[in-house]
């Protein structure tokens, strides 16, 4: 790291060239102007980040150390209480239940990645209709989750006319209650998520696979490898950076699951049948929305900070692990 830095500096010095007397003044003025303009042009997104993300993050931590008078959303109405909020949430079995449910939702990720890689591999060679298939596979990704949840809720209908119950009926099985059944709720959400996300993973893998050196496949052909062998011994290892990347963003996304559960949950009270869909974000949201029942803003802020730390830790672990295991193309 240090070496490259030194090199970069050396290169920069070289690029500027040795200072020429006389020209020095004008140069330094134009450099200073460029610096000022550069900052002015580059700065807005950084300022946006500082105001709308970084400052709230700090405030979130402060809020998590304070108790709020119920029904007040003002920072003026808080009183310092140390780590009481954290103690409260860690003592609450609901938080651990929410953490468990959130982690269970990550189960969709290996399936998304597997199907995504499979689709990308099948779409590797050009053929008639390839473009149309790419467009179709990516379609669920651009659609709003609430609109999609309407159809999925209907397909998961516990009545006998629900699509999934009709499929069961074809095999002579009794209808199930699907999303209305606390034990099945998460499975239903996971299946829908796989359907929703695999096209995105497929698209990312297609870009990655397009970069794999074709000579690898050619030499495998000469050695008489079949397509299954080529998939597992060339495509999968060469796609590891993407697998790790998709796993990471998948986990970060799953840790923040809320929208799809809120939209699929037809029970107006609670989070899914018997709170089977209570995620960490759900836990955070209900504390904010119903402060009397679930503890208010301090609890909410503590939960969000806890969630942030989990996500940060996962990001770091993923970066470390991927450095060790990832197979780089170049």
């Amino acid at each position: 790291m240090e070496h490259t830095l030194c090199n970069a500096q050396a290169a920069a010095v070289e690029e500027r060239g040795a200072p020429v007397p006389g020209k020095r003044m004008t140069r330094s003025i134009s450099r200073r102007r460029e610096t000022a303009l550069g900052w002015a042009m580059a700065l807005p997104p950084v300022i946006g980040f500082l105001i709308f993300t970084f400052a709230p993050l700090i405030i979130s931590f402060v809020m998590s150390l304070n108790e709020f008078s119920r029904y007040s959303y003002s920072l003026a109405d808080m009183t310092y209480c140390g780590f009481e909020n954290y103690k409260a949430i860690f003592a609450d079995p609901d938080l651990w239940k929410a953490l468990g449910i959130t982690l269970l939702l990550c189960l969709s990720i290996p399936f998304e990645i597997f199907f995504g890689l499979l689709i990308a591999n099948l779409l590797r060679k050009p053929f008639f209709g390839r473009r149309v298939l790419r467009v179709i596979f990516f379609l669920p990704n651009i659609c709003s989750i609430v609109a999609l949840a309407f159809v999925w809720t209907y397909m998961y209908s516990p009545q006998e006319y629900g699509l999934f119950n009709r499929i069961l009926a074809l095999f002579g099985a009794d209808p199930l209650r699907w999303t209305s059944d606390a034990k099945m709720f998460l499975v239903c959400i996971i299946v829908m998520t796989i359907w929703n996300v695999m096209g995105y993973d497929a698209l990312m893998f297609q870009a990655q696979i397009g970069n794999i050196n074709q000579s690898l496949y050619e030499s495998a052909d000469l050695d008489g490898a079949n397509c299954v062998q080529k998939f597992f011994f060339i495509t999968v290892p060469m796609a590891t950076p993407m697998i790790f990347y998709l796993a990471l963003i998948g986990i970060i996304g799953a840790m923040q699951s809320y929208a799809r559960i809120d939209a699929m949950d037809i029970d107006p009270y609670g989070m899914g049948p018997e709170d089977a869909g209570l995620t960490l974000v759900g836990y955070m949201m209900r504390a904010q929305e119903e402060p009397l029942a679930f503890g208010g803003l301090g609890i909410s802020a503590a939960t969000s900070f806890f969630l942030g730390i989990i996500i940060a830790v996962m990001t770091v672990i993923n970066l470390k692990v991927s450095k060790k295991w990832v197979h780089y193309n170049d």
Binding site: P44, I59, F127, I142, F150, V151, Q159, G210, C227, S300
Partner: protein, 309 residues
């Protein structure tokens, strides 16, 4: 291109009977695998499309037909009640209406997306084509944004916005986006680095300032990248769920975004299924049309970010 050559190889190979036979057999086997692959792809595409088809046909089925025991893949008779309800403004005072929601969504999302894109592009230009002190530090700060998930800061954002009176107004959905987005900056920076420095330098030699070089030279060159980012950011804003629910959900229905309107329709009543479906169709159609027209830019845009990001 190389794949075609591989396929042509057996034909051009020397006519040694033994090898030819072997190759032919392998060729046949490959074909079989190809066919299985195609069938799998087709099956996958059908699985993706079935829910969309069900959404569409159900929006035309009367509640009685929806709840009758036999499910059909085509409505027995076209019933437009769902759409009549969706376009009915009389109930708008209570739960709003998809068209009002659609209008609000466009009103909040378009200016934010356009301004945010312009600002992000400027920032990307500075990070890719200008040399100034502190550039790398600034970029490092921006990198942090990518690690920080938005959901984590929702609660303090809500508190701040409620203190300055923004809750119930569209400002929380508009103002932050106008500062540009880190993801967009990364993407555009990546694209601009691919543009040769000489082009920009030549423009500056001709007396254009840095800013005008961005505006007159870089922007036109990067149009595909800008379109990709515009569409992706617009779709993101269009489908934004948590923010609008939190910041607008309790307020005036005439300010609801499309997603808030839709989410208010979630209910266990199956007799409402047709209305829900019709509203969902109205919500999805603009998006799908936009997607079909810009799929080149979107798919290439995402692929590029996948390889280089």
């Amino acid at each position: 291109m190389t794949e075609i050559n591989v396929n042509q190889l057996p034909a051009q190979a020397p006519a040694d009977g033994e090898i030819k036979k072997k190759k032919l057999r392998r060729h046949k086997k490959l074909r079989a695998a190809d066919v299985i692959g195609k069938i799998a792809l087709l099956l996958g595409a059908i699985i993706i499309l079935v829910p969309f088809w069900i959404l569409l046909i159900t929006s035309f089925k009367s509640p009685a037909e929806i709840m009758s025991a036999d499910f059909t893949w085509w409505p027995k008779e076209f019933n437009l009640d769902g759409y009549i309800n969706a376009f009915n403004f009389e109930t708008a005072a209570i739960t709003s209406n998809v068209l009002i929601g659609l209008g609000n969504t466009l009103l909040y999302t378009l200016p934010t997306t356009i301004i945010g894109l312009f600002v992000s592009g400027m920032s990307a230009y500075a990070f890719s084509k200008m040399h100034f002190k502190g550039r790398e530090v600034l970029f490092g700060v921006l990198l942090l944004t990518m690690v920080m998930p938005g959901t984590v800061v929702l609660i303090p954002q809500y508190t701040i916005y409620s203190m300055i009176g923004w809750v119930g107004t569209p400002f929380p959905l508009m103002i932050p986006g106008m500062f540009g987005a880190a993801g967009t900056v990364f993407f555009l920076r990546q694209f601009m680095r691919g543009v040769p420095d000489e082009i920009v330098e030549a423009a500056e030699m001709d007396g254009l300032g840095k800013f005008r070089a961005y505006w007159m030279i870089m922007l036109p060159v990067c149009v595909p990248a800008f379109i990709a980012q515009f569409v992706l950011n617009f779709i993101g804003g269009y489908n934004d769920y948590l923010g609008p629910i939190l910041f607008l959900g309790e307020g005036d229905p005439s300010r609801f975004t499309l997603q808030v309107v839709l989410s208010n329709m979630v209910s266990p009543q199956e007799s409402e299924t047709q209305k829900r479906m019709a509203n969902a169709v109205v919500a999805l159609v603009p998006l799908i049309i936009l997607y079909l027209f810009s799929q080149n830019f979107i798919i290439d845009g995402i692929s590029v970010s996948a390889v280089k990001g």
